[in-house]
């Protein structure tokens, strides 16, 4: 029974598979699909002829649950959407709630959010780097990246109490102030990171095998990227210099000087280059923020009983791309509708145009270059 359903979906009413064509499942249990992603592949030997992603294995009804929780109670759920970049996931939601309620966030809290957000970007990119290299066979990179992540986890744990899913941002600010010694810890980490980035580049960039596996693979043209709603490094890798922190600045990002790395060819290698460069840009932002962070409260004036009215759609730049939250209020303290726009959900549509014609092994590189997190795709 399952077989007929799947085959007819893949064939889309076309002719029965020819003798050379094979239907192969990649996932949902697969070491290189980064979570529970199922790709229905039509292959001729190793060459991919057609591809359909099948998602929903991690669907946890986030949007329905959010309709039955008070405003602040939704925040831990947002953590668990993009669980590798929990701060940015919370940020999109908290920003939407603040706009609906007209709450002003004090400057110190904004600076804290930027610092923590950029640290989160570094953590997320480290994991991407490690798993991407691991998928291609470079196991050492994985261990190196996770060593750096441990230092970040220590900092996050001291600050928020948690290593990965923080529940740290609040409507109107952050849950608690920076601890004494935070700046020293972070600056020390950034110095170490810069050294380690040289090691990482030594491992991969310029490596002949790595370049053969990534250059010219999974190309997305500029027009395709915009038409398919790509964002973040996927969009920038194709040559579109669009970063929400510059195009529609939120929080205090307009006070910092940083660049937007843009790729040239839209292939896996370009996206790799973009993310590697983003490490340096994040380091720049954090150093500037730590230098100029003002004193003051870390939580704004928020009414005890929150009331959401109206609707708003806020977008922020997460490590994966544009995260959007469409929040609708009905005058009560619970969202009437909370929709979470996930960048990876949209990028999955690009897998077919990117992958057709390539080998299954190239699919692994392509999936890695999109940096998928299924928690965000399925919510």
């Amino acid at each position: 029974m399952a077989e007929t359903v799947v085959t007819s979906e893949v064939m889309q009413g076309g002719p029965l598979p020819a003798e050379r064509e094979l239907f192969v499942n990649m996932g949902p249990q697969h070491p290189s699909t980064h979570g529970v992603l199922r790709l229905m592949l039509r292959v001729d030997g190793e060459r991919v002829l057609g591809l359909k992603p099948d998602v929903g294995y991690l669907h946890r009804c986030f949007e329905k649950i959010a309709e039955r929780r008070q405003v602040t109670m939704v925040i831990p759920y947002t953590d668990r959407t993009d669980y590798l970049a929990a701060i940015t996931s919370e940020w999109a939601y908290v920003l939407a709630a603040e706009k609906l309620m007209g709450v002003e966030v004090p400057e110190r809290a904004e600076y804290i959010r930027v610092i923590v957000g950029e640290l989160q970007r570094i953590a997320s990119h480290l994991l991407w780097f490690g798993t991407f290299a691991l998928d291609l066979g470079a196991t050492t990179a994985f261990l190196y990246a996770f060593r750096e992540r441990e230092s970040l986890f220590d900092i996050f744990q001291k600050l928020t109490g948690a290593r990965m899913l923080y529940n740290y941002l609040r409507v109107g600010g952050v849950r608690n102030d920076l601890y004494d010694g935070f700046a020293d810890d972070v600056l020390r980490f950034l110095n170490v990171l810069e050294e380690k980035l040289r090691e990482y580049h030594n491992l991969l960039t310029g490596n002949r095998i790595f370049e053969t596996r990534t250059k010219g693979v999974g190309v997305v043209t500029k027009e395709q990227a915009i038409a398919y709603g790509a964002s973040g490094p996927v969009l920038r890798g194709s040559g579109v210099p669009h970063d929400l922190r510059k195009a529609h600045p939120y929080s205090v990002y307009d006070r910092f000087e940083f660049g937007i790395p843009v790729g040239e060819h839209g292939d896996v290698y370009s996206r790799y280059v973009v993310r590697m460069q983003e490490f340096y840009e994040s380091i720049k932002i954090i150093r500037q923020a730590l230098k100029t962070i003002p004193g003051g409260p870390w939580m704004g004036d928020v009414p005890r009983r929150m009331k959401l009215t109206g609707d708003v759609y806020t977008r922020i730049e997460s490590p994966r791309g544009e995260v959007g939250v469409y929040l609708v209020g009905d005058g009560s303290d619970q969202p009437y509708r909370c929709h979470y726009r996930s960048p990876c959900f949209v990028h999955l549509q690009l897998l077919e145009p990117m992958g057709v014609g390539h080998l299954i092994a190239d699919m692994v590189a392509i999936i890695g270059s999109i940096d998928i997190v299924m928690g965000e795709v399925d919510r």
């Binding site: 359903v5 979906e9 889309q12 998602v55 929903g56 669907h59 009804c61 949007e63 329905k64 706009k99 609906l100 915009i226 038409a227 398919y228 709603g229 579109v240 669009h242 195009a247 529609h248 109206g310 609707d311 708003v312 759609y313 806020t314 977008r315 544009e322 959007g324 469409y326 609708v328 009437y336 509708r337 929709h339 726009r341 959900f345 949209v346 999955l348 549509q349 399925d378 919510r379």
Partner: protein, 163 residues
């Protein structure tokens, strides 16, 4: 209305004088259209040189059960223009709850494919002209559309085991 949004609103009203274009929170232009004018309207805002809404950020839906309608909400952004003219447009389409059908925009913005499938899956709104309208997040044999306010889980209740 904020200054930067004026020319965009005027461009829309020039072609569709009957539409009400509002400026909402966070510099979003908002307009409500009828399902019948959807395709014409979307083609227009994408191709008009002053509007150039070439990037569809999101398609989502809200269940206004009290008013007996679903609302499909599109969020459009202009990517290819220079920063000063970058506009943000929210388009809302109301459809009756008993027959929710809206034209698909997949051929205008290919990114709409998965978004419309998700709206169909969770809210039950049918997108006419969609090349592959089937469930995306839930199992293909799921009954019902969970995001609806009157959704009741149809699955048989399992007996609770305490030991």
């Amino acid at each position: 209305m904020p200054e930067q949004l004026q020319p965009l609103a005027e461009a829309i009203r020039e072609r569709f004088p009957e539409l009400v274009v509002q400026a909402k929170l966070d510099n979003w232009l908002e307009v409500k259209i009828a399902p019948e004018q959807s395709r014409e309207f979307f083609q227009f805002v994408k191709e008009h040189p002053k509007l150039a809404f070439d990037y569809l950020s999101d398609v989502t839906s809200v269940d206004y059960i009290q008013q007996g309608l679903f609302q499909v909400v599109y969020h459009l952004v202009s990517m290819g223009t220079d920063a000063r003219r970058r506009g943000k447009l929210r388009v809302k389409i109301d459809v009756p709850r008993d027959n929710p059908r809206v034209p698909s925009v997949v051929d205008i913005w290919p990114t709409a494919n998965f978004h419309e499938r998700e709206v169909y899956d969770l809210m039950g709104i049918v997108f006419e002209g969609h090349p592959d309208l089937r469930r995306i997040l839930l199992r293909e044999d799921w009954v019902g559309h969970p995001l609806r306010k009157d959704y009741v889980d149809q699955r048989p209740k399992r007996p609770r085991v305490t030991r």
